[in-house]
């Protein structure tokens, strides 16, 4: 899904406000000068197939408006939304309905289940609206309920279910028609923390089974960091930064973004591969049966040890200057979260080597690099 120059102003005649925005005015300025509320200021981004794209920001930053522009629950004032080569913003209502029935579904913060329908009937709603016959939609709805672990509750009504279960039904309703894009508007924000974490895991599990494109709105930095492949941070109707969680933690675009993620425990977000690097003090050695050239190199450089790789780049071990044998050190996996490495890095005599899934050497994590990261991630107050 490609979004280009998407804008929304809440006015009967949007032109003056749009012109003012195009000349670079801020949301506050447009409100002061024209008394027009601005929802989204000139947003352009791509959402990749199969990723969880989190849009986050404080309340009033325009994120809820943004997600409603994507399925035109709110009509955009300008810009394009392209999906599979079609421009959704230009689509007549009649064709838009077809796209909504087939390709998109939505999960709401307040669950928005129909109280007069059972869980099964709620889950079947999208298919029913699309005119799918009764037996087929029943099967699909039941499968969706089973996917979210509510197969046994199909006959229950929403008021008989807890908040978490209601949102599972909401999720099942969104999954039942097998959409390519799911829009989730603060889907877990109304749930208490324990259930919220459970639902996040559920979502990640579903995503592992079948990767869908998910646009997830959240104001919760921890949540965004946990589930996002990429995050877009919004402030006052603008997107101020788009990047992976690690990128945003490492290089926040401005103080707003930095402040937003201050409370986040970066050691749970960042992975070993994000920290792994080779600097001047990292000595890389070629593996060979004859250790002498390598040892000679170490002494030339005045280094105490070096990291040995085979010709294809796989990590073999660490060679120390005073020992002729390779030390078989267990390298850290690139995907391991940093918090799982803390003890090893702290107790290891040398920086910890990191490898990817194939065993290729990615770099090392030193104590200094680790401490610096933890500090920047906001454990310290600087």
């Amino acid at each position: 899904m490609e979004v280009r120059r998407l804008r929304k102003v809440f006015a009967d005649d949007p032109r003056p406000a749009l012109a003012l925005l195009d000349s670079g005015a801020s949301k506050a300025e447009v409100l002061r000068r024209l008394n027009v509320n601005v929802g989204v200021v000139d947003a352009s981004f791509d959402i990749r197939a199969g990723e969880i794209f989190v849009i986050m920001g404080l309340s009033g930053s325009g994120k809820s408006t943004m997600v409603r522009l994507l399925n035109r629950l709110i009509e955009p004032s300008g810009g394009d939304i392209r999906l599979d080569g079609r421009n959704l913003t230009r689509l007549p209502k009649r064709d838009l309905v077809e796209v909504l029935r087939r390709d998109m579904s939505m999960v709401f913060q307040s669950f928005a289940l129909l109280p007069n329908r059972s869980a099964l009937e709620n889950a079947a709603f999208g298919l029913e609206v699309a005119g799918v016959d009764k037996a087929t939609r029943r099967d699909a709805a039941l499968r969706a309920l089973e996917q979210v672990g509510l197969g046994a509750y199909a006959a229950r009504y929403p008021r008989e279910l807890s908040g978490g279960m209601q949102q599972r039904v909401g999720l099942a309703r969104a999954l039942a028609k097998n959409p390519t894009i799911m829009l989730m508007d603060e889907a877990f924000s109304a749930l208490d923390p324990l259930i919220r974490t459970e639902m996040q895991n559920e979502l990640l599990r579903l995503q592992r089974e079948q990767a869908r494109t998910i646009v997830f709105i959240s104001h919760d930095a921890e949540e965004a960091m946990r589930i996002a492949d990429r995050i877009a941070v919004m402030e006052d109707g603008r997107i101020v930064q788009i990047g992976t969680p690690a990128e945003i933690l490492r290089e926040p675009a401005d103080d707003y973004v930095r402040a937003f993620f201050r409370g986040v425990d970066s050691s749970r977000v960042l992975r070993a591969r994000d920290l792994a690097r080779c600097d001047g003090t990292t000595v890389l050695l070629e593996d060979s049966d004859d250790r002498r050239p390598a040892l000679r190199r170490l002494s030339e450089l005045g280094a105490g040890y070096g990291y040995v790789r085979d010709p294809s780049g796989r990590f073999r071990g660490i060679l120390s200057r005073d020992g002729a044998d390779l030390l078989a050190v267990e390298p850290a996996a690139g995907d391991a979260p940093v918090h799982a490495l803390l003890r090893r890095v702290a107790t290891s005599p040398c920086p910890l080597p990191v490898v990817d899934g194939e065993g290729l050497f990615l770099g090392v994590v030193s104590r200094a690099a680790l401490l610096e990261t933890l500090d920047r991630g906001g454990l310290g107050d600087g």
């Binding site: 289940l113 999208g126 609206v129």
Partner: protein, 280 residues
């Protein structure tokens, strides 16, 4: 100045009203006849069914409804109430009044619910509709009884039509209110999953407005009941007629008996229809 104003404007309105009624009488007779035929056929069918059925059968149906919708205690009350009406010898006019109320309510809903839906969706319709409803509710009934008689003659038809005019507004208002009060996120959900307008109405809005609409049905029935004496003045018959007889003959006994029958019938109808307004 005052007199001039009164004559040109005030007199003007009266003059034009007379003109309008005259115009309808002169040119609208086929339409009026058609309306009369439909209303008479409908009202007659209900009346015929209620009066044609043996009292015990009709009574049993009502008691069963009371038991199903409300409960054991109220079913007992209903049985006693109907028994009392029968014992007072007022079964026939009561059944006839029930028929009038049902016919008027059905017609009120037929016109009122769509009007309410329209008012909930369109601001313009809402503005015009509100004014119209204010007229219908506050214009003294006797004012439109006269043209009603001129249009439709005496009998059941003008009685039903006058009752519909008086009793329809709550059905309209509560339908519009109910639809407007459907939580916006449910409407959003409907739209997000690709509902067309009619699907949104029938699958999301009306089911969720049902308690409010049923409250409207209840109110419409109560107001229809309160019109029966006025309606009987133009020949609608039923319990209203008996009440009128009591007044005319200064027969306190008959007045109290017929009045009590109206009250008992009202309680039974009220409780049963109210039960539909509660979400199960």
């Amino acid at each position: 100045m005052d007199e001039w104003l009164a004559e040109t404007i005030g007199g003007g309105i009266g003059y034009w009203a007379e003109k309008l009624v005259g115009l309808i009488l002169d040119h609208g007779q086929p339409t009026l006849d058609a309306i009369a035929a439909v209303v008479d056929g409908f009202g007659g069918a209900i009346d015929g069914a209620l009066l044609g059925a043996p009292p015990w059968a009709l009574g049993a149906v009502i008691v069963a409804a009371a038991f199903w919708r409300v409960g054991k205690g109220f079913a007992l009350f209903t049985a006693l109430a109907l028994g009392a009406i029968f014992a007072m010898g007022l079964w026939e006019p009561t059944a006839s009044t029930l028929g009038l109320v049902l016919a008027s309510t059905a017609l009120s809903l037929l016109a009122g619910v769509p009007l309410g839906i329209w008012m909930a969706r369109s601001r313009a319709a809402d503005g015009v509709g509100r004014t119209l409803l204010d007229f219908m509710q506050t214009m003294p009934a006797f004012v439109y009884l006269i043209p009603a008689v001129m249009f439709f003659g005496l009998g059941r038809v003008p009685g039903i039509i006058a009752t519909v005019i008086f009793a329809m507004p709550p059905a309209v208002r509560l339908t519009a209110l109910g639809i407007r009060q459907v939580p916006p996120e449910l409407v959003e959900a409907g739209r997000a999953f690709g509902c067309r307008d009619h699907q949104l109405l029938f699958k999301v809005q009306l089911p969720n407005a049902l308690p409010s609409i049923m409250a409207g049905v209840n109110q419409t029935m109560m107001m229809a009941l309160s019109m029966i004496v006025v309606a009987s003045m133009i020949g609608a018959g039923g319990l209203g007629n008996v009440v009128l007889q009591g007044i005319q003959r200064l027969d306190i006994g008959l007045g109290v008996e017929s009045g009590l029958s109206v009250v008992l019938l009202a309680i039974v109808i009220d409780r049963i229809t109210q039960s539909f307004g509660k979400m199960r």
